[in-house]
């Protein structure tokens, strides 16, 4: 098998190993803490702001919290075993989050890194390889790039006790053609859609600084990964009574200011992509108006909250829909829906919404600006629990 090792000891990655790590193994904790320090170095974090968030996630205090969450009183907790990770190609940092949690749980990991990885991912490999680590880390934690090779994917699938598949429905289906061992399981991250909800009364009650901060948080959520991360907000619901038009106009104006300040750009192909999709929504009657104030912002007025597009329609493409209340949105939400980012609602309104959803859709409800913040609970999974296995003991 032809493999390029980006991190870890070279050799047969599926060979049996005598190395044993424990849940919260000090050697792993030490390694991740050192990695965090490298990622948080000001020069690196300036170049790749997403590495700042990652470094923050890997701080010792956060690691300790994650390990504490793995411990239980009613069972002995052990690593699940071998974990094969298939992260998405183009979200440069996501592979580190899931791998780090799995490593912290003491697993032997193989992460398949896309050959298209670039930018921040390259900086991460450099940092990983610079950390002065216990040799057991390199023997148990491997990150490899290999091409279209069913034999390798098949061998790793048989090796794995847990296979972690990111990248949407198509990826999940493609990987599932390779059987797991009978005791193995899949942890899948299929296609997801995420929303933003903005309270009209809440907006009007907010002072100018709070409105500005909301636009800034929303812009980070939307533009950081070209609005294509699974948790990036797409349709914006304007919720509650009042002049929705005025709120939307002010929101878009503030958003454009942020985009200007940040110097974000949208290339020609993306601008065409957005036109194609916006015109398509207009042609089918899903949208009654579309505005292109600037290449970086496309805004659409949807005819109803049941007309929301569930696929990616471009970077900086914002369909808007009205809703009387959050609870009115409940019938619109489906199992595909992941994150709802909110502004201007009371905790009681949000709790009522979450309760009414009843787990049938939406895994995360977070404030504007936190949509992309990865957590140990993701896509409805408690990841530390997924990465461990339990032994009960009765004496």
């Amino acid at each position: 098998m032809s493999m390029r090792f980006r991190f870890g000891a070279e050799g047969d990655v599926t060979a049996p190993s005598d190395d044993r790590l424990a849940v919260g193994d000090p050697r792993v904790v030490d390694f991740l803490a050192k990695l965090a320090r490298k990622l948080l170095a000001p020069a690196l974090a300036r170049r790749h702001p997403e590495l700042g968030s990652l470094g923050y996630f890997l701080r010792p205090a956060e690691l300790k919290r994650a390990v504490d969450r793995m411990r239980r009183d009613d069972a002995l907790v052990f690593p699940r075993g071998n974990v094969f990770h298939i992260p998405p190609a183009n979200v440069d940092t996501i592979f580190v989050y899931s791998w780090a949690l799995a490593a912290l749980a003491g697993n032997h990991n193989v992460v398949r890194i896309s050959s298209r990885s670039a930018g921040a991912a390259e900086a991460i490999f450099q940092a990983l390889n610079e950390v002065d680590a216990d040799p057991v880390i390199a023997r148990t934690q491997r990150m490899v790039t290999y091409g279209r090779d069913d034999a390798v994917t098949g061998a790793l699938s048989r090796w794995a006790d847990l296979r972690v598949i990111w990248g949407g429905d198509a990826a999940v289906e493609a990987i599932r053609r390779h059987p797991l061992r009978p005791s193995g399981r899949d942890l899948t991250f299929p296609d997801r859609t995420s929303w933003a909800v903005l309270s009209i009364p809440g907006w009007r009650a907010a002072d100018p600084a709070a409105r500005k901060a909301a636009a800034l948080g929303f812009a980070n959520d939307a533009y950081w990964f070209d609005q294509a991360a699974c948790s990036s907000p797409r349709t914006v619901f304007l919720v509650g009574a009042g002049d929705a038009e005025a709120v939307r106009a002010e929101f878009l104006e503030l958003l454009l200011e942020v985009v200007d300040q940040r110097g974000w750009t949208v290339d020609a192909a993306m601008a065409v992509e957005k036109r194609v999709n916006a015109y398509g929504l207009a042609a089918t009657g899903a949208a009654t108006s579309m505005e292109f104030p600037d290449n970086r912002i496309t805004s659409l007025t949807l005819t109803g909250s049941d007309q929301v597009p569930r696929r990616w329609i471009g970077a900086g493409a914002f369909p808007f829909a009205r809703a009387g209340s959050l609870v009115d949105l409940v019938p619109v939400m489906t199992r595909q829906d992941q994150t709802v980012s909110h502004f201007g609602f009371t905790p009681a309104e949000l709790r009522e919404f979450a309760t009414a959803l009843g787990g049938r859709g939406v895994d995360r409800i977070v404030p504007f600006g936190s949509a992309l913040t990865f957590g140990a609970m993701w896509d409805g999974y408690d990841l530390p629990a997924e990465f461990t296995r339990l032994t009960t003991l009765q004496t």
């Binding site: 090779d149 991250f189 194609v276 990616w312």
Partner: protein
């Protein structure tokens, strides 16, 4: 007889009312088109560049037609790289008019009579249904302008030197038509003519297709022309066209170097950042405009090709002189749903 006669201001004066009327007609007869224009707030154009354009890719995702179903005479399809296919609906009148205008355009360089025709392609391609739509339609469409057709490639796609020699023996001493895709002409006609000392001096070549493969081999349009002249082929006309405006081709002038718009068509180069019309010399996205699409709202289309206008009313033919520079790379999302297909 030429369809390259109108100076730019004459052309715009003649085309604008027709295109305006087409816009109104399509709005009245194609509901999705009307919805698009209404949603974008379109009112009226006071110049060609203000006409409402549709992204050409919409014909891959939507059924856009301005005629009732029972008047559909022909459905044209194009193959796309993503597997999506454009569907273009023609009624009898539109099909006839498009064919007539295409004929008038190529007759500008071929003359009124049908010429013996050498097709630089393989007949087998017509049987392959997947490649048929794009390449086959081009070959079939153009073949009606010739007679005594001979295929330069055999059924296996290999050069049929005997067939070419036979064709030249029968027709080589008087004007004849050569048609083929640019890359195939380079690979299977130019090189074969050069290596076998074939005389193509009476040939008139009409060719189309992207330059990418040739640019990869470091062959520029200028070099293409110069090398073909080396085997006697000096009357060479590249053209730019697409299935979405099938009867309209933008044809290379006799002196080479640039494409021209027939009297019933025009191009606008747009800045992909501001969407404003760009002046000569500045490259941008090509918008193609034609009065021929009467059965579907395809009279003003924004392509995903990059091009540049070199000059206006200053070339071998009147109107805009432009070049196609290549395709705009497709937008790629870098999200979580970026799939694993490549390694599955």
């Amino acid at each position: 007889m030429s369809v390259f006669t109108l100076a730019q201001d004459e052309k715009e004066a003649a085309l604008l009312p027709q295109l305006d009327e087409l816009t109104s007609f399509h709005r009245a007869n194609c509901e999705p088109y009307d919805r698009i224009l209404s949603a974008s707030g379109y009112q009226k154009a006071s110049g060609i560049a203000e006409l409402p354009w549709l992204p050409v890719r919409l014909f891959k995702t939507l059924d856009l037609k301005s005629i009732p179903d029972d008047e559909v005479f022909k459905v044209l399809t194009s193959s796309g790289t993503t597997g999506d296919v454009s569907r273009i609906y023609l009624d009898k009148a539109a099909a006839a008019e498009q064919q007539k205008r295409l004929a008038a355009t190529v007759q500008t360089v071929l003359g009124p009579k049908r010429l013996p025709m050498l097709l630089v392609d393989t007949k087998a391609m017509l049987k392959d249904r997947r490649s048929f739509s794009a390449r086959g339609a081009g070959v079939l469409g153009m073949s009606t302008f010739g007679r005594d057709h001979v295929w330069a490639l055999d059924l296996d796609g290999q050069v049929d030197l005997a067939a070419i020699r036979g064709f030249l023996a029968r027709h080589g001493d008087a004007p004849f038509l050569i048609f083929g895709f640019t890359f195939l002409v380079w690979l299977h006609l130019y090189e074969v003519a050069r290596d076998n000392g074939l005389d193509l001096a009476n040939g008139i070549l009409i060719h189309s297709g992207g330059w990418k493969k040739l640019v990869d081999q470091a062959v520029s349009p200028d070099e293409f022309r110069a090398r073909l002249a080396g085997v006697g082929l000096t009357r060479v006309h590249n053209y730019y066209g697409m299935v979405e405006q099938i009867g309209t081709i933008f044809l290379e002038g006799p002196d080479g170097g640039a494409l021209y718009c027939p009297d019933f068509a025009d191009v606008v180069i747009r800045d992909p950042l501001t969407w404003a019309e760009l002046p000569p010399g500045e490259p941008g996205l090509i918008e193609v405009i034609s009065t021929l699409p009467t059965s579907y709202p395809g009279h003003v289309l924004l392509t995903e090709d990059l091009g540049v206008v070199h000059g206006i009313d200053d070339g071998a033919w009147p109107g805009k002189r432009f070049s196609v520079l290549g395709r705009l790379p497709r937008a790629e999302a870098r999200g979580c749903s970026d799939t694993y297909r490549e390694a599955a």
